[in-house]
């Protein structure tokens, strides 16, 4: 209409731009976005590239094609050893830990004034979790002159073996350590138990259900989303176990506790075999990916979501 055009001052123009939802969103997530590219995405791609090279950090990476992968699968018994140790550890630890967590969550849902205090006590070992102090302690408990043998002696069992020094028992001490730390999944189960409406149980009692039937027909199905969550988190966590194994047994005796993460660390930082180690980490990523996808797929058969009921 008029020829005079209003010239917006610079400051308000800047204000308008940075206040638009699109820009504001990116301004807020910028720290994570930078971190994601620099510390996650680029490293993953780099790991993939390096897995096809021979690289010792000193001379530039040399492209060797599939050699690392071929060597890993065909010529490296330690790779297979570490794989089988890790799988054994994961498949024993995770179910045991979750079973304990669920059992104790049910037990500690008993109403009493002291229950919160008890829950706290049971959580303490988990909180001390990956500390070196606990690892050192564990090592001392299971040596030949350690506490476990001393207790066994009280029961008339004279055992002089070092539990961590014996290839047959060493892995079990690490499993026991992991199971001992069942606190986090226990707390998540407790929260899940609270969500189950009391009326379900009341209805079941009227129908004459006993405790076992209530557990199987109500508690367990209602908890499946939480079992699912715990299962995934614990599985991934167990696959990456490093500190405890590294300090308590350092993979020994005779590689009986050579976790995948320990072997990977060794190849990288003791043998400076970066390319090989990168190939190992990609194999780890693929295995965890497949297992996670498998659990996700299977969840349609066993995870029960209440909202589906009404559909």
């Amino acid at each position: 209409m008029s020829k005079i055009t209003y010239k917006e001052p610079l400051k308000s123009r800047v204000d308008r731009i940075i206040n638009s939802e699109n820009i504001a969103g990116y301004v807020f997530i910028l720290p994570w976005l930078v971190g994601f590219f620099v510390f996650t995405l680029i490293p993953i791609v780099a790991t993939f590239y390096l897995s096809f090279t021979q690289y010792d950090l000193l001379s530039p990476p040399k492209f060797v094609g599939l050699r690392n992968y071929i060597q890993m699968f065909k010529e490296d018994p330690l790779f297979w050893k570490s794989m089988s140790v890790t799988f054994f550890y994961v498949f024993v630890t995770v179910p045991l830990k979750l079973a304990f967590a669920l059992l104790l969550a049910l037990w500690l849902s008993y109403k009493s004034k002291l229950t919160p205090f008890y829950r706290a006590i049971y959580y303490v070992p988990s909180m001390m979790g990956g500390s070196v102090a606990v690892a050192v302690l564990w090592q001392r408990l299971f040596t030949s002159d350690g506490v476990i043998n001393s207790i066994l002696k009280l029961f008339g069992i004279n055992s002089n073996i070092s539990w961590i020094g014996n290839p047959k028992t060493a892995i079990w001490t690490l499993i026991l350590l992991a199971v001992w730390q069942f606190g986090s999944p226990m707390l998540i189960f407790l929260a899940g138990l609270k969500q189950i409406p009391e009326s379900y149980y009341e209805a079941a009692i009227i129908d004459g259900a006993n405790s076992w039937q209530k557990f199987i027909k109500i508690t367990l199905p209602m908890l499946t989303p939480i079992i699912f969550f715990n299962l995934i988190m614990q599985m991934i966590g167990s696959f990456m176990t490093f500190t405890q194994g590294f300090i308590i047994t350092n993979g020994g005796p005779v590689n009986s506790t050579l976790f995948y993460a320990i072997y990977l660390y060794r190849r990288a930082f003791q043998f400076y075999d970066m390319g090989y180690s990168c190939a190992m980490s990609w194999v780890m990523l693929i295995i965890i990916g497949i297992l996670t996808a498998f659990i996700f797929k299977s969840s349609t058969f066993w995870v029960y979501y209440e909202s589906k009921e009404g559909e």
């Binding site: 206040n19 699109n22 820009i23 504001a24 969103g25 990116y26 807020f28 997530i29 720290p31 994570w32 971190g35 994601f36 996650t40 680029i42 490293p43 993953i44 780099a46 790991t47 390096l50 500690l108 008993y110 009493s112 706290a120 006590i121 049971y122 959580y123 303490v124 070992p125 909180m127 001390m128 979790g129 990956g130 500390s131 070196v132 102090a133 302690l137 564990w138 090592q139 350690g146 506490v147 001393s150 001992w180 707390l187 998540i188 407790l190 929260a191 969500q195 939480i226 715990n230 991934i236 696959f239 990456m240 500190t243 300090i247 660390y265 990288a268 930082f269 990168c278 780890m284 990523l285």
Partner: protein, 280 residues
């Protein structure tokens, strides 16, 4: 009827305490062994209470190894843990607000990426990160342990998003009408309201960073830079240790900060696990 209830209550407390005692026994054993004479620790090892209480172990242990006292390791651990925690909490809160309250193009995609990184094993990014930090000359400084912390931590971002979603939208709307920009809504309205989530994240961050072993192991190779984890490992090397009393004394001390945090902030810790766990 009544009597059976009394018996049941009694049994509940008895069994819970008994099993709790077994659970805590290893930690109690370490605590009491830290006051024992070296010769006593593995003699009748199952006995908890020391015959004579020795406080000398703490003095001996404090001297550390190779001329580096534990005060150095504790100082380093505090620097790494406190600065890292502050960075992680602040940056995660900013990012969480962006995801929870701003509508922007590509949000769903980036959110998916963030959730996926929560499931990503550290080993996959470990080596390139190491190479990068080495090229930057950051090895044997605290930077590799601190800088990434300032760029948000997916677990905390997720926790805070869940928390922000519980705050009614109307508050934002009202503030907007009053002339608040997205940025001042964040600092004036949201930030104070999510303080429980900030505290929860800070506690987890503190506990994890304090216990972290792999990070310092990769990046710190000079004893004057060692954190408590590294110092403790050197100090209690089975081939070198002769004084287990002192080693246990330092191990016990290393658990004290975590334990204090636990005592004071237990409620937030439990709530934090519950919020993330349930809605995950």
């Amino acid at each position: 009827m009544r009597r059976s209830k009394v018996i049941r209550t009694f049994l509940f407390h008895l069994i819970t305490l008994l099993f709790g005692y077994i659970m805590l026994y290893p930690l109690l054993w370490m605590f009491f062994s830290s006051f024992k004479d070296n010769s006593e620790i593995f003699l009748n090892a199952h006995e908890l209470l020391p015959k004579r209480w020795l406080f000398k172990n703490y003095l001996d242990g404090w001297k550390g190894f190779a001329g580096y006292p534990f005060s150095v390791f504790f100082k380093n651990s505090f620097i790494v843990t406190v600065i890292g925690t502050i960075g992680a909490v602040i940056s995660s809160a900013i990012v969480a607000y962006g995801f929870a309250r701003c509508k922007f193009k590509g949000k769903g995609f980036w959110f998916g990426c963030m959730i996926l990184t929560m499931l990503l094993p550290y080993q996959v990014v470990m080596i390139p990160q190491y190479i990068m930090f080495q090229k930057l000359g950051w090895v044997n400084t605290f930077k590799p342990l601190l800088v990434p912390a300032f760029l948000g931590q997916p677990f905390f971002i997720f926790l805070m998003i869940q928390f922000i979603r519980g705050i009614p939208d109307e508050l934002d709307e009202a503030a907007k009408i009053d002339g608040c920009s997205k940025y001042s809504i964040f600092t004036r309205i949201i930030l104070p309201l999510i303080s429980p989530a900030l505290i929860t994240s800070a506690i987890f961050s503190f506990l994890w960073r304090w216990d972290d072993f792999l990070g310092p192991l990769l990046y710190l190779s000079k004893p004057e830079l060692y954190t408590v984890s590294l110092g403790l490992r050197m100090f209690s090397d089975p081939t070198a240790v002769s004084n287990w009393g002192a080693a246990f004394a330092m191990a016990t001390l290393s658990l004290v900060p975590s334990f204090i945090i636990f005592i004071f902030f237990q409620r937030y810790l439990v709530e934090g696990i519950v919020t993330t766990g349930l809605k995950g």
